[in-house]
Symmetry: C2
Subunit: 328 residues, 2 copies
């Protein structure tokens, strides 16, 4: 029985009806100052806390946001988690955290979110099937893909303008006189990797500049191993564009271990601008994802859909910017 104290107890002590207690705590209703004071005093004395579940049962609303995350080893995401938690807390919402091991979120996770009738769902670095999306739609639960992009007719997503960013990185490296480039992708089936590759190679092709592609997995170890293999093959490009920072750090370490000087012999550009990119040992040139803005836009969408559900889809892309450091 929660802590044993319910609205009826408070009502009795305050000498008012349960309705009045409810009106004081739920807000939006008119209560006389006198009643309010009596209720608050009684509640304080008894240590009353409204039961969120009973409330949800009536209003059919919750103040819980489901946040689904996969890549907790990439420092980018804990940062994102922190920002979301802080933003939503300020708005009175709590975060139900879901960790998924797969690129696509699983039925059990979705069911859990539905069980709790969450007010909204944010999926940060995974995708989900169309069928699952329907489950959320049917229940009028707003859903947004964060840092991923999918069919714009069916999903709402928020990401950096990856195409523009990678084009500009290509132009930047060309201007730095690099004439033989390598792109290291994360998991190939992610929209971020695909778009970053597309923008980058588009520009290189236009300028008839040689490039190669390598597939990795968005992890430090992946970047490290990929670079190591290239070094083993004796084929160091004049510049690397690596699909995220944490892999780029792996690339830098592999280069350093093999005595390949950066930025003189080869250059490296990452993506994200995680804190570690600024560490003096790395000093990585990278593309900054405007996390705060992305989070803010996501929150705006979710809140507006909570207030009035439209189920609108689409994609918001936010411009980032190049952070020039010492690896180029």
């Amino acid at each position: 029985m929660s802590n044993g104290i319910n609205a009826k107890d408070v009502a009795k002590l305050a000498g008012v009806s349960q309705s009045s207690v409810s009106r004081v705590f739920f807000g939006g209703a008119s209560v006389s100052e006198k009643t309010r004071k009596k209720v608050l005093a009684a509640a304080e004395e008894l240590g009353y806390i409204p039961n969120e579940f009973a409330r949800s049962l009536i209003t059919n609303k919750t103040r819980i946001i489901g946040l689904v995350m996969k890549g907790v080893n990439n420092p980018f995401y804990p940062q994102v988690l922190k920002e979301f938690t802080t933003h939503f807390k300020g708005l009175g919402y709590s975060i139900l955290f879901v960790h998924t091991n797969n690129d696509e979120i699983q039925k059990e996770d979705v069911d859990m979110l539905l069980h709790y009738n969450v007010a909204g769902v944010i999926i940060t670095d995974a995708t989900l099937s169309l069928k699952v999306t329907e489950d959320f739609k049917k229940n009028h639960i707003p859903l947004v893909l964060f840092n991923r992009k999918a069919d714009q007719q069916k999903f709402f997503s928020i990401s950096t303008n990856n195409l523009d960013a990678s084009r500009r990185i290509a132009e930047y490296l060309i201007q730095k006189e690099c004439r033989d480039m390598a792109y290291i992708s994360g998991s190939r089936n992610t929209s971020t990797s695909i778009e970053r590759e597309k923008g980058f190679t588009e520009v290189l092709e236009k300028h008839h500049i040689r490039f190669r592609r390598f597939e990795s997995d968005y992890s430090y170890e992946g970047g490290y191993e990929t670079a190591k293999e290239m070094i083993g093959n004796g084929s160091i490009p004049s510049a690397f564009f690596v699909a995220n920072d944490i892999m780029a750090l792996g690339v830098l370490d592999a280069l350093r271990e093999n005595g390949i000087a950066v930025p003189t012999v080869t250059k490296v550009v990452g993506f994200d601008n995680i804190n570690m990119a600024a560490w003096p040992i790395y000093n990585l040139t990278t593309w900054e994802q405007p996390v705060s803005q992305m989070v803010q836009e996501t929150v705006n969408y979710v809140i507006s859909e909570i207030n009035e559900y439209t189920g609108r889809s689409g994609n918001i892309e936010i411009e980032g910017k190049l952070i020039e450091r010492k690896t180029t």
Copy 2:
């Protein structure tokens, strides 16, 4: 109305009572195979999902665990978050994630956890006042401090055996012929920093070995700046014991920037064994915190207290081990 489908709808379609539907989904009750099949078929057809809130209202239990975390910038904690989420998911529990900016968790966070009548609370790198603890006790909500320690009469906590670990680190460095040491602490008011300092300096005093103490803040930047200042003062010790890995990486980078060779001129030992400690560029010797075991013990405690609340306090300490790499 969740998705509009409730137990009554299912009951009608299946041609049974609402009670039977409940018995099928709640489990633990006896239902004939025939009824079960009819109910399941109807539920499947309608897409029925039991409302967790209505359920909680009756049972006065939830399957939500509150997890409070502060230092999301230290890679140790995202790892911990992931482990907890995975463990609890396997047991049918969900994680309500709370991020706190302060060393001590705030009333609003506590209230939120109480609002949701969480089944248990885990606080990973913060502490809380005795008053707040009483709030949880009163509601029979089990509470554990993870990687922190407090008054053993009042709290239940789980940590590495920090005293033993730091003693053994001291002995290890003495054996390596270091005769002038520095201890860099995290925030001074955390039990981890205090105990690691205590064990370390105890042994050094016993052996009449010179040491100095420096206070930092558990961040990379903190470690970096602290080391930089020491270097500026021209006073490099023969070994550093740094209270966590992420600070130790900062120390290593400061040393490297100033051309101070590790492990020849000075040695560095960290604490935690985060993934990055193994990165080839760092290769940090450190003390491994047995995260999986610590998580497992925490889960065991929470679950046993959920099943039968005793409110027992105490402290479980788990032995870690020295991971010897290239910085010593």
